[in-house]
């Protein structure tokens, strides 16, 4: 079922929040056989915390052992690798190196290795020479590294979009611009008030509202956790920097230094970040010049050759941090409610594991439907640089975005898609990469606007015919 207006019908499950976790749970619930609706307040999926992350599929080598987070990350990692090829999702193996620059850093290595062992992740110690051999672009005063072969890069948007798409292809319902304002439970059924839309009824509600998790939780009970969004700023370097190194470069976590991650992206850029700044505002995070400059300098310190490469863009994301370090996942049996909160920074990897865990909670506490048979699989368009892209194909049609080489056909498909069309300009960018390249829309904004105008109203307004610059001579 595609996106429709809410009807009077009763859903088994209503999921609040269409971030990466909500999308994965949406998929898992639909495939488990539950009649499910996903409610997203934004104009498209992935408009909140899931919009901005470091796009890494983590092994969980550095997770706190025996936590729910560690378990979900481990399981999410395995599940993603199991299902990605079936949906044409990519996974790029790069490995990661936790790099030491000082004696203090080196002193942390035994702990890192021990923790990885407890998390069941194989790592290997590299001395300074081996570290440099693996990544010659590293600054020469590198002292050593812990190599985590199993770390991968993934497309942080195509993956959750694939989860949601699979849910939709198999009978799930998505409501966008559906802000849940409140709800009450009567005779075992939740009646959720949606701003400007009919009430949605469901037997069980799953709260995956990310940075709004505690506010949504208050519908069911006084929230046991408070969200203090943690901002992370990132700097994206030009694709010319892509071949400088391959391995994800991680900092040694110490009490003194925050350190930054320097990594490639599957799209062919180099990403540096994040910062970690607690704040109150739950949306529209700001970047600031001084922190961006500090990130850039930190990156130069790690990979000096980055100095020769331009910055393409900058962005900031908000992670839903709580006063607890672990995920806050819980089924409230008497309330018909499952809480999925505080998924701070490992949501992209953990999502499929979290979803599996949530379905188990659902089956144990609420209902045990028969899993779906003959499951339909979505095929996602490839945006990953290491694999063929549509612009390389015959009859590609015009290219709209030259930096990222996005064809007009790709943009039209994303806009006109019957199952899950782009709902915002950001959604279109995440689906196609248009306007995401080094010119940041200098060359392609106009064409993208022309294509998008009818589908995403309000971005541009027409100019009166008489005022139009027509190029006639003076």
């Amino acid at each position: 079922m595609t996106e429709t207006m809410a009807d009077d019908s009763l859903y088994d499950i209503a999921i609040i929040g269409g971030g990466v976790v909500g999308c994965a749970i949406f998929r898992a619930c639909v495939l488990a056989g539950a009649r499910t609706v996903l409610l997203e307040k934004g104009g498209d999926l992935l408009e909140g915390a899931s919009k901005a992350n470091s796009a890494i599929l983590h092994t969980g080598f550095d997770a706190t052992p025996d936590t729910l987070e560690a378990a979900c990350v481990r399981r999410g990692y395995a599940l993603y690798r199991e299902i990605c090829a079936d949906m044409n999702l990519s996974v790029v193996k790069t490995g990661a190196m936790v790099v030491a620059w000082t004696d203090e850093d080196l002193a942390q290595f035994p702990k890192i290795i021990e923790k990885a062992a407890r998390n069941g992740v194989t790592v290997r110690l590299l001395d300074a020479r081996e570290a440099r051999e693996r990544e010659p672009a590293l600054a020469h005063d590198v002292r050593g590294a812990v190599l985590v072969e199993g770390e991968h890069l993934i497309d942080p948007w195509s993956a959750p979009l694939a989860y949601a798409r699979q849910a939709l292809l198999n009978g799930g319902t998505l409501l966008r611009r559906a802000l849940v304002e409140g709800g009450m439970r009567q005779d075992g059924v939740w009646h959720l008030d949606i701003a400007g839309k009919p009430v949605v009824q469901a037997r069980t509600v799953i709260n995956c509202a990310g940075n709004y998790g505690d506010l949504v939780e208050a519908i069911a009970r006084p929230s046991p956790f408070q969200i203090t969004p943690r901002k992370g700023q990132f700097v994206v370097f030009d694709k010319t920097a892509h071949d400088l190194f391959r391995t994800i470069i991680l900092p040694v976590p110490t009490a003194l230094t925050k350190g930054v991650v320097v990594t490639r992206t599957v799209f062919g850029n180099v990403l540096v970040g994040p910062t970690a700044e607690p704040q109150q505002a739950r949306e529209f995070p700001t970047v600031d010049h001084d922190n961006l400059e500090a990130l850039r300098k930190a990156a130069f310190r790690i990979i000096p050759a980055l100095r020769e490469h331009d910055v393409t863009t900058t962005y900031a994301g908000l992670r839903p941090a709580t006063q607890f370090s672990d995920y806050q996942i819980e089924a409230l049996k008497t309330e018909g409610w499952i809480t999925v909160g505080g998924i701070r920074s490992t949501g992209l990897t953990g999502a499929l594991g979290i979803a599996e865990h949530v379905v188990t909670l659902y089956r144990d506490n609420f209902a045990d439907p028969a899993p779906l048979k003959d499951v339909a699989l979505p095929q996602m368009p490839n945006l990953v640089e290491e694999r063929p892209r549509p612009w390389m194909q015959p009859e590609r049609g015009p290219i709209a975005c030259h930096c990222e080489r996005v064809t007009e056909k790709e943009i039209e498909i994303a806009l006109k898609d019957e199952v899950l069309p782009a709902g915002t300009l950001g959604g279109l960018r995440r689906r196609t990469r248009c306007m995401m390249g080094r010119c940041q829309g200098f060359y392609c904004t106009r064409r993208v606007m022309e294509l998008a105008e009818a589908h995403l109203p309000g971005l541009v307004t027409p100019i009166g015919e008489d005022q139009r610059g027509d190029g006639r001579d003076v």
């Binding site: 010319t240 106009r446 541009v460 610059g469």
Partner: protein
């Protein structure tokens, strides 16, 4: 097999095509990745084009048409060159897929673009309504506008072009903001125009951050140490042009640190003896007429190359930037019994003094007085005969 492939159908590329065609070169193609030729002037719907090369004062689109008609060669649009290899090999993406083409000479005329928000590391939120002049002008030309009351960041020539476009697009900028105490553009007529349009120009004013959620709601600015909010619904980042030299860079042609474009010799040749470069890809940014004239000059050199009459790459004398000099081009010169080479340079800051080109022994090869802002280009005429026996050159500004 082509004689000459020209990458980019802007003023430089089309002007080069015209010269080559008129000289009787037969197998020429201009490859243009967008859907129509003409380059950036296409979107400048105000006068100021064609003076240097056509002796006319046209609006941008008319000039773009004139360049296209005058070229008289096939212009292949929707055709992207994705890489160049030694031996005159070009990898080309067309409607038919990826192809490999060969040519005796390739001219890079890939032009220039403005620096968008990202690399400027500007603070604030990231709402819709932040754009560059190029994107803004293209939208207005096609009858759409993304905002009604933007601020314009910068005061280069193109910033005033944005202002003129705003007028056509029923857009009323709330202010033009310039960090320096002076306007960057050279022509007082533009300042006058801004005054006529009623747009205040705020000098010594810094953009602090961009405000807004889904859309731009304002900007924080700082003037004389005081910060205030300016309500607006858009931000146009103008100028700070950079060469669009990505094709050169990814094809392994080294870029010059100063110009950020491909380094060339005085025959417009890059380090690959079959690859030439001309126009704003060499350095940012000159007026379209200057790019066009360079396109013609490069074409004349390509003609000589096709006849095998250019000097060996190895015999060139490199020019280095010395004290006070930010960039210089061409970066390699040839000695000759007669003739004159024009060196172009930009300074690091406001410079008053003598611009001196000297050889490895400190001997003066050429000199002139300068009093110039960093944004301005300075020309220095060099006698080719003075270069005989010289192995390296250096350009300095001296008091």
């Amino acid at each position: 097999m082509y004689d000459v492939l020209i990458v980019g159908a802007g003023p430089a590329g089309l002007s080069a095509a015209r010269v080559l065609k008129r000289a009787g070169v037969e197998r020429i193609a201009v490859l243009e990745r967008t859907r129509e030729p003409g380059g950036l002037p296409r979107y400048c719907g105000h006068p100021g084009f064609g003076m240097l090369d056509f002796g006319r004062l046209w609006k941008g689109p008319r000039y773009a048409r004139a360049l296209t008609e005058a070229a008289g060669v096939p212009i292949l649009t929707d055709t992207t060159v994705t890489g160049i290899e030694p031996g005159g090999v070009a990898h080309v993406s067309t409607e038919r897929g990826l192809e490999t083409w060969c040519a005796r000479a390739i001219l890079l005329a890939t032009g220039t673009r403005e620096t968008p928000r990202g690399p400027r590391l500007v603070s604030g939120t990231r709402p819709w309504g932040v754009t560059t002049t190029g994107a803004f002008q293209e939208m207005v030309m096609k009858g759409i506008r993304p905002f009604q009351n933007p601020v314009i960041i910068g005061s280069e020539l193109v910033s005033f072009s944005a202002l003129m476009t705003a007028r056509h697009g029923q857009v009323n900028p709330v202010a033009m903001i310039e960090e320096n105490a002076h306007i960057t553009a050279q022509r007082p007529a533009d300042v006058l125009a801004a005054m006529v349009y009623g747009t205040p120009i705020l000098l010594s004013t810094r953009l602090v951050s961009i405000l807004g959620g889904e859309r731009v709601e304002g900007v924080e600015i700082e003037q004389d140490g005081e910060q205030r909010t300016l309500a607006c619904d858009g931000v146009v980042f103008t100028g700070k042009f950079v060469p669009d030299a990505i094709l050169a860079r990814t094809s392994g042609l080294s870029l010059d640190r100063g110009t950020r474009g491909p380094a060339i010799d005085s025959t417009f040749r890059t380090q690959d003896l079959q690859v030439f470069a001309a126009g704003n890809v060499l350095r940012a940014v000159e007026h379209s007429g200057q790019a066009a004239l360079e396109g013609r000059a490069a074409a004349r050199m390509i003609l000589r190359a096709l006849e095998g009459k250019l000097p060996d790459l190895g015999s060139a004398v490199p020019v280095a930037c010395g004290k006070g000099v930010a960039s210089v081009w061409p970066q390699r010169l040839y000695a000759a019994p007669r003739g004159r080479i024009v060196l172009h340079a930009r300074m690091e800051m406001l410079q008053r003094g003598v611009l001196r080109l000297s050889d490895e022994h400190g001997r003066t090869v050429a000199r002139r007085r300068v009093s110039v802002l960093p944004e301005r280009r300075v020309e220095l005429a060099v006698s080719a005969a003075m270069l005989v026996g010289v192995s390296t050159l250096r350009l300095d500004v001296e008091k």
